[in-house]
């Protein structure tokens, strides 16, 4: 039996400049923030980030790690506009591929299924066509229907955060929505799952039914035990979003000094210390 347990540093050690990295979760919900923080502390650069974006995208932009962002939205949910992402877009420091939310999942599904595109109606007529001139349409050989051909969004690596995982890489989601984490896993060459708690084999049963175990180990290459690993995004039912810290994070987009202060306090610290701060901040 393969024990896939690794640390955040091990995961980031597997990443290379210029890679395409998919990040699971949705907005400011169940993001693999402890791995994102480890990327922020690394010298990685020129990443392409594919995400239903939240503070993962914002922080990576603020730290200058992003060459290109592929997204349907970037939002902090309770704070609709992600200020660090906005700054990166408004200063044109990143390339952007902005897609309809449904198109993004279709691109991941195409990658998962190893086909070069999947057709959809979404996107037709919208500015997505002008803003992404590489997107093409396809005409159905059956009835002449002209559809948008959403290209596969193949990922080098997917980063996910689950409520529970076992050491072999099966992952359990205890909230009501697992978003598109399963598609991110299948679209990626390698998937790393952080989790609140690593359980013994068979240890999922006490937390939820079999259908809550959404990711099979066949997709997983590494498991990181990361209590508060999604903080300050929410990881229900383990913890809610830390709205106080999220507001502090949003305010840190005010200027370089504010971001440096936030970094020093919440990012450039060892993870065990972060966990203590997170627990205190949530209580």
């Amino acid at each position: 039996m393969t024990d896939k347990r690794v640390t955040e540093a091990d995961v980031v050690g597997e990443l290379r400049d210029g890679m395409t990295i998919g990040i699971g979760g949705w907005g400011s919900r169940r993001k693999p923030m402890s791995i994102v923080r480890e990327i922020l502390r690394s010298d990685l650069r020129d990443l392409t980030v594919v995400s239903y974006g939240g503070p993962d995208v914002g922080m990576l932009c603020a730290a200058g790690k992003v060459r290109k962002a592929v997204y349907g939205f970037v939002s902090l949910d309770s704070i609709p506009l992600e200020p660090h992402f906005r700054a990166a877009r408004q200063n044109a420091t990143i390339e952007a591929m902005e897609l309809d939310e449904g198109m993004l999942q279709l691109g991941l599904r195409a990658a998962a299924w190893r086909v070069s595109f999947l057709p959809c109606r979404a996107g037709l007529g919208s500015a997505i066509r002008e803003n992404n001139p590489e997107l093409k349409t396809v005409v159905s050989p059956y009835d002449g229907q002209e559809l948008l051909a959403m290209p596969a969004l193949r990922l080098d690596v997917a980063l996910l955060h689950a409520n529970r995982a076992d050491a072999r890489g099966d992952a359990q989601y205890l909230g009501a929505d697992w978003y598109f984490d399963d598609l991110f896993a299948m679209a990626a060459d390698r998937t790393f799952v952080s989790c609140e708690q690593v359980v013994e084999p068979g240890g999922f049963a006490s937390a939820g039914p079999p259908e809550s175990i959404r990711i099979s180990r066949m997709w997983t290459h590494g498991v990181v035990e990361a209590p508060f690993g999604a903080h300050f995004t929410h990881c229900v039912p383990d913890y809610p979003r830390d709205e106080v810290l999220q507001r502090e994070y949003a305010a840190s987009a005010k200027d370089d000094d504010a971001w440096k202060v936030f970094r020093a306090k919440w990012i450039d610290i060892p993870e065990p210390e972060y966990r203590k701060l997170a627990a205190a901040s949530l209580s």
């Binding site: 992402f85 897609l99 979404a122 007529g125 009501a176 929505d177």
Partner: protein
């Protein structure tokens, strides 16, 4: 019942957008549209399907400020993956916001200024491109002004009638922009060329005032009726059950 506030008039005006929709998913974005769906479901459109704003389809409305762990009557499970399926299957009518909207109903929530280097990056297009070509879409605008109602939007997120016609029959076959509800009036596109017109005026508002707050000429607006007034039952449901702490007022003030 004391007389209705502007927010309550807007709740009822938004609710009316879903009249006749039957058993489809009603997806509201924002406080007032959310109250509107729940009010419609409690009164004239009892088969509407709606959620808690997350992944649970509800069998009875919850208050606007209900905590996450409030008891809920759960009818079904509606995670985002299911919502996309519903969108593409067409059994949905969404009411989104609009930072900009033009006379043919093209909507922008993505950015202001040139897309390559926007003056203001907003949300991104979110689900607007897919929503508008797959099922009916309406919009809620809390502050009707020429900054919102513009000659041309900066980034077409939701597709309007002129652009969808150019995009061909696959784009247009399920396209419908049903209503635009604002703090001044209800507008629609029921004109020969699908350009925007005033459908009804909120009490005390004139055609001239709406036109002055709109950055393009509205289609012929003679004999515009008044927006339906909330009934006593509407007011009781909104005030006592759906929004006891008046979140509806904060949305209009902003």
């Amino acid at each position: 019942m004391s007389s209705p506030t502007l927010a309550e008039i807007c709740v009822v005006a938004c609710a009316e957008a879903w009249r006749g929709d039957g058993e489809i998913l009603a997806s509201p974005i924002g406080v007032i549209p959310t109250l509107a769906v729940r009010l419609a479901a409690l009164t004239f459109e009892p088969d509407l399907v709606y959620t808690d704003g997350d992944a649970l389809q509800l069998g009875a409305p919850i208050a606007s400020d209900a905590p996450p762990d409030a008891p809920k009557v759960v009818e079904a499970w509606m995670p985002f993956a299911k919502v996309f399926d519903v969108v593409w299957a067409g059994k949905r009518h969404v009411m989104m916001g609009a930072t900009q909207i033009d006379r043919f109903g093209n909507q922008n929530i993505a950015c202001i200024g040139p897309w390559a280097k926007p003056k203001a990056q907003l949300l991104g297009v979110r689900g607007a491109p897919g929503n508008t070509v797959n099922h009916p879409t309406s919009y809620w605008v809390a502050a009707h002004s020429p900054r919102v109602f513009v000659e041309a939007v900066d980034c077409v997120s939701g597709v309007g009638y002129d652009r969808v016609a150019l995009a061909g029959p696959t784009a247009s076959e399920f396209h419908e922009i049903r209503r635009v509800v604002t703090n001044l009036a209800v507008l629609d596109f029921e004109t020969p060329d699908h350009s925007m017109r005033i459908r009804s005026l909120h009490p005390g508002v004139t055609v001239d005032e709406v036109q002055a707050a709109t950055g393009f000429p509205l289609a012929g607006s003679a004999d515009v009726p008044e927006t339906r007034a909330p009934t006593d039952e509407d007011l009781r449901l909104v005030r006592e059950l759906l929004d006891p702490n008046s979140l509806r007022d904060s949305e209009l003030a902003s």
